[in-house]
Amino acid sequence: MTAARTFLRDTGLIFTRTAREAKGNAGLAFVAPTLLSVFLIVLFQAAYGQIAEVSGWPTDRFIDWVAPGAVLLSVFVGAGYTAGGLLRDADSGYLDRIRLLPAHPATVLAGKIGFEAARAIIPATAVLLVAITLGADNRNGLPGGIAVISLAVALAIAWNGIFYYSALATRNHAAVLGLQPLFMPVVMFSTFWVPPDFMPGWYATVAIWNPFTPTLDATRSIMLGATDWAALGTGLGLLAMLALLTYGLAGRHYAAATAAD
């Protein structure tokens, strides 16, 4: 068996182990991110839905504007799950036992990150379906839906890099948990709730330069049926840069932690 096939097989085993753990903790892994995202769009729709009736609002209904963000929000509110699991593995000696085996240590990271990407599909799909049920536009049908979910997966991989870096750099559960609210300013100071024309100048400037905004705008453009390819390219590029940076740094800490004594 080639080294690459061995690596893939071992990564698959870690993926399966992580998935089995998540299945036993489905409330935290899948249900909470879904419910929180749905909960927030329902509450905001109830309180601020009428803003879509104001002259200049770009979509038919408020939910058309916020639904794409809600799909991505499920990634943010569920972030850090497997990074926390990696810390538990380090605490329990699991990573040390891996070192005694012929498996490449990187398979642990690869398997967990792979599962993190797969995990994002379930809440993102559920939120998308609820949003469509509540009346949100999805003018590109199934291909559009798949594209939106794919963007959620890309965001999940990149955003969780921050949690992996924090976990491996600090080895502290509290530090990983403490990163959870980081998404709030990222979401609040973007085009998540209203278009830039509805913001004061300073706020619009922050929102336009927010690195999350291109991904959000691209997701929205897909659901509204007029894909913004420039935003899509920029968003994916920024996510790739975030992933390279965070996983690069995390990988260095991980290599140091799993190196032979």
């Binding site: 909960f39 509450l43 309180a47 601020y48 839905g49 009428q50 104001v54 609040m188």
Partner: protein, 277 residues
């Protein structure tokens, strides 16, 4: 510490002094860790003040808004409407921190030791409840100050501010009884963190953020029955209307009733738990 021991051990110790000692114990613990007790309660309301005044200002132009009670001639517009409501989030999203120590005390056997000393466990709830009200005051002051900078209006000067602060403190006390009841039943120090999200629907499905006229029918129905709505209406009246109008006595009476009800429920739950242990 000596004074504390003497009061709790003395058979004739007054409930008032015991409540004061519990209050001081809570205050001392909170001052050692001021972030969760004094800073965190204000953060969600502060964030919402900055974000909502910026993002949703134009909802004042939506159809139905006038019918909802916004005075369009008012200089502050939606911002003036929002600030007396959003300040209530200091209580709704920041209440209950002292329930963590209540659960921890139940777990550690602290209450068992109190029974040996003859102290009344109910004083622990009252002392905590009073501290809960005081704990919210700095956050309320900060949110009101920032809110006024971000477009809030105060036509009634210090009287208006004092009345709003009193309403936030009373709302925090009323809501804390729910946290105490759950903390006593679960003995889980994580109780405040688990219950805090409940403050969101209480705020959003009330008149705190928007008037009834712009809500969909189902939300309007809930908001009319939501006890937070009359409190918010009184707060709004205190800052931008006649502070002594009918809303204020009604809200104070409602909050007093809820404080008594939730505190009685927590006391009953505590008595049953201690009787069963």
């Amino acid at each position: 510490m000596n004074e504390s021991r003497n009061v709790l051990e003395a058979p004739g110790a007054t409930a008032g002094r015991a409540v004061g000692l519990v209050f001081r114990r809570q205050a001392t613990a909170a001052l050692r860790d001021p972030g969760p007790h004094f800073v965190l309660p204000a953060l969600p309301a502060l964030l919402m003040t900055v974000v909502f005044t910026a993002l949703f200002d134009r909802i004042g132009d939506a159809p139905g808004y006038d019918a909802g009670g916004l005075d369009r001639s008012h200089a502050g517009g939606y911002d003036a409407f929002l600030i007396p409501g959003v300040v209530m989030l200091v209580a709704l999203l920041g209440a209950g921190a002292t329930s963590a120590s209540l659960a921890a005390d139940l777990r550690s056997g602290y209450f068992e030791r109190l029974r040996l000393l003859g102290a009344r466990p109910g004083t622990h709830l009252t002392g905590r409840l009073l501290f809960e009200a005081v704990r919210l005051l700095p956050g309320t002051a900060v949110v009101l100050g920032v809110g006024l900078v971000f477009g809030g209006d105060n036509r009634n000067g210090i009287v208006g501010l004092a009345l709003v602060t009193m309403l936030v403190a009373m709302l925090g006390m009323a809501y804390s009884g729910v946290f105490y009841t759950v903390a006593i039943r679960t003995t889980d120090p994580q109780t405040p963190f688990q219950l805090q999200p409940l403050g969101l629907p209480l705020a959003f499905l009330s008149t705190a953020l928007v008037p009834l006229g712009v809500m969909p029918g189902w939300a309007e129905t809930i908001a009319r029955w939501n006890p937070v709505s009359p409190v918010v209406d009184a707060s709004r009246q205190a800052l931008t209307g006649d502070p002594w109008a009918g809303e204020l006595p009604g809200a104070v009476a409602l909050l007093a009733g809820i404080i008594v009800a939730t505190h009685a429920l927590a006391s009953l739950t505590l008595r049953r738990r201690l009787a069963g242990s």
